[in-house]
């Protein structure tokens, strides 16, 4: 670091506006020439032309190109192209900035005892010192996007689009870095227009991108081939729009992967093509989620719960969510329904939505009905209560219509459980 300082001192450049990357801080820690430290930094920038510092830069070249176009903005962060950077900012010493790189190149290899043309150790007058504004640093490595939001156009425009929840975006791996490296004009705009073509609504774009920011980094042709593939499988345009908005990761999958998954569902469940398509449209998460839990769920249904193959097909077609629910919940619910309430498999096949509801609800309502003597689930006998009504009605309607009791009675009964 001390070597640096000496070398920098040779190329003299007193610039009015000093951009302050991390360098002056490092120099401060290492060198004793603290009062002139901020003068070193522009020199340091020049120096970088010759030496590449492998610091991890979160903001990169395209941003600096933008910044050049806005000379009045005092942003910085780009260390990759200092010469284009500096002339834009430094008006007075422009000619000197251009000549100095050449001077510097010669100076590098000269003897160290040469007296520099004008030493950076000269005292700066107070006015000039005040003019040197030290910018707050853009950190090279940061765990939040918050530091960059002000500086990065990409991020500001995305926020305007409606992705207010940047905190979720940065939680995903590398999404933050991806967003910062992309250029809004070139890449993102194309992808957004493509999404609008596919049919994602404007107001949904924000939440879509929050869940799936990686799509902004995808190649446009790949995305188009995938949509074309879906169309070839005879998914309608509105259906594709619906699937894509509900499962944002869908378009990230390559064509072979999508094909594999559709084939998997067809084989595992034994459903016809139209039915599989219908299923996938209703729950596109099936295509994007993992396959092993789905397989295990089907096995559980078959082996442990004892459903026949055609029963499973029927259930899955009616409530595809059963494939993604947890096995423990499935087992407990089935255990209570079958063993305690005494409902046969055929009834469960006809009303598979009971598997989706909360076990506690089923328990409470069943116990109440048993207390009243109205727990009759057999359609043949009188005063039959269908499972559908048991589960899906809100409390008041359940009390008055099915149980024929008042809400207070129900609550008092619940307190005795």
């Amino acid at each position: 670091m001390a070597v640096w300082a000496r070398q920098l001192a040779r190329g003299w450049c007193l610039l009015a506006r000093a951009c302050a990357p991390e360098v002056p801080h490092r120099l401060k820690s290492h060198s004793s020439k603290t009062r002139t430290c901020h003068v070193f930094c522009p020199l340091a920038l020049l120096h970088f032309r010759n030496r590449f510092f492998p610091w991890k830069v979160q903001t990169c070249r395209p941003l600096s190109a933008e910044h050049c176009a806005q000379p009045d903005s005092s942003k910085d962060g780009s260390l990759a192209s200092p010469e284009s950077h500096l002339p834009a900012q430094v008006n007075q010493k422009q000619e000197k900035a251009e000549t100095i790189p050449d001077v510097h190149a010669n100076v590098l290899y000269e003897d160290w005892d040469d007296i520099p043309p004008s030493s950076a150790l000269e005292e700066i007058s107070e006015e000039e010192a005040v003019k040197i504004i030290a910018e707050p640093l853009l950190p090279f490595q940061s765990s939040t996007l918050r530091d960059y939001v002000d500086h990065s156009e990409t991020l500001t425009k995305l926020v305007h689009l409606g992705i207010f929840d940047l905190s979720q975006v940065e939680k995903r791996q590398k999404a933050g870095q991806l967003l910062l490296t992309l250029d809004f004009e070139k890449d993102i705009r194309k992808v957004l227009l493509f999404l609008k073509d596919v049919g994602v609504e404007d107001n949904q774009l924000g939440s879509f991108l929050t869940k799936n920011p990686y799509i902004l980094g995808e190649d446009l042709e790949a995305l188009e081939t995938r949509v074309a593939y879906l169309k070839s499988k005879k998914f309608g345009k509105a259906e594709i729009a619906q699937m894509v908005s509900r499962a944002p990761y869908l378009l990230l999958f390559s064509v072979e992967r999508l094909d594999n998954r559709l084939g998997f569902f067809k084989n595992e469940l034994g459903l016809s093509v139209t039915k599989t398509k219908d299923l996938v449209i209703r729950l596109p998460r099936l295509l994007t989620g993992k396959l092993e839990p789905v397989k295990e769920n089907i096995q559980v249904c078959q082996i442990e719960l004892g459903f026949q193959r055609n029963e499973i097909q029927h259930i899955v077609f009616k409530t595809p969510k059963i494939l993604t629910s947890s096995k423990k919940k499935l087992r407990k619910t089935f255990d209570y329904l079958h063993n305690v309430m005494g409902i046969p498999h055929s009834m469960l096949t006809r009303f598979p939505q009971v598997f989706n509801s909360k076990l506690l609800r089923i328990k409470e309502r069943h116990l109440f009905l048993k207390f009243l003597g109205r727990a009759q689930y057999d359609p043949v006998q009188p005063s039959y209560i269908s499972l559908h009504q048991l589960v899906s009605l809100p409390d008041e309607v359940f009390c008055t219509e099915i149980a024929k009791a008042s809400m207070q009675d129900f609550e008092k009964f619940l307190k005795t459980l």
Binding site: D395, E411, L414, K415, T416, L417
Partner: protein, 219 residues
């Protein structure tokens, strides 16, 4: 500008209820936590409904544990059960008098005992102040127990011991707290009522009761 009204609530819990038991549980919010400690120092009794089943014995005294033995229970009648309960109540009453550290020979002690105000005001082992049988349908039975400083497992053990005394065995099927000091089932909020308005109403209703009780006991 909108936002959540209460951001961080400090909540404390009163006497604990373990996972298999149900019933009234007192929670304190914010400054109410200080009242919780005061209530604890009042040493008020709690009332439980305990359901039991004759004929089985398990390792953890409840009906979900591992079965240890099975016995007959045809010989058990309500009178025998009540006799056992009276014995239990008698022994516990002696323990109550002993732990409350009152000199039994004074007039004050007699008057307090008449009013039923004697209780241990410090640490003591679990004491049952009253126990009676609510329902008796073989093999099931239900007891109401008033007690102090107990745990739910102790109550289950009592059921087991009752079974042993009756020359049979019993397991506990249900432990439900109906009263905790001044709070009864009527004041309790159901799961469907766990929202801000109901909680505020409940706090408002109970405030007076709690204050009166604390003043009476701690002076």
């Amino acid at each position: 500008v909108t936002g959540p009204r209460f951001r961080r609530l400090r909540m404390g819990a009163g006497h604990r209820l373990d996972a298999k038991a149900s019933g009234v549980m007192v929670l304190g919010i914010g400054h109410g936590n200080k009242l919780l400690t005061d209530l604890h120092n009042c040493h008020l009794s709690k009332v439980y409904t305990v359901g039991g089943l004759f004929g089985k014995a398990t390792d953890d005294f409840s009906d979900t544990g591992k079965l240890v033995e099975k016995t007959t229970f045809d010989h058990i009648t309500r009178e025998k059960l009540e006799r056992i309960l009276a014995v239990i109540q008698g022994t516990n009453h002696k323990a109550l008098l002993m732990h409350s550290n009152i000199d039994m020979k004074t007039q004050e002690a007699y008057e307090m005992a008449v009013k039923g105000l004697i209780r241990p005001m410090g640490k003591s082992p679990p004491i049952i102040t009253a126990i009676r049988c609510l329902q008796f349908v073989l093999p099931e039975f239900q007891l109401e127990i008033h007690c102090l400083h107990e745990t739910q497992q102790y109550l289950r053990k009592i059921v087991h011991e009752i079974g042993l005394e009756l020359k049979s065995s019993a397991v506990c099927t249900q432990v439900r707290r109906i009263r905790d000091g001044v709070f009864t089932l009527d004041d309790a909020l159901l799961r469907t009522h766990w929202n801000l308005q109901s909680i505020q109403n409940a706090i408002w209703d109970c405030q007076l009761k709690v204050k009166r009780e604390i003043e009476k006991t701690l002076g």
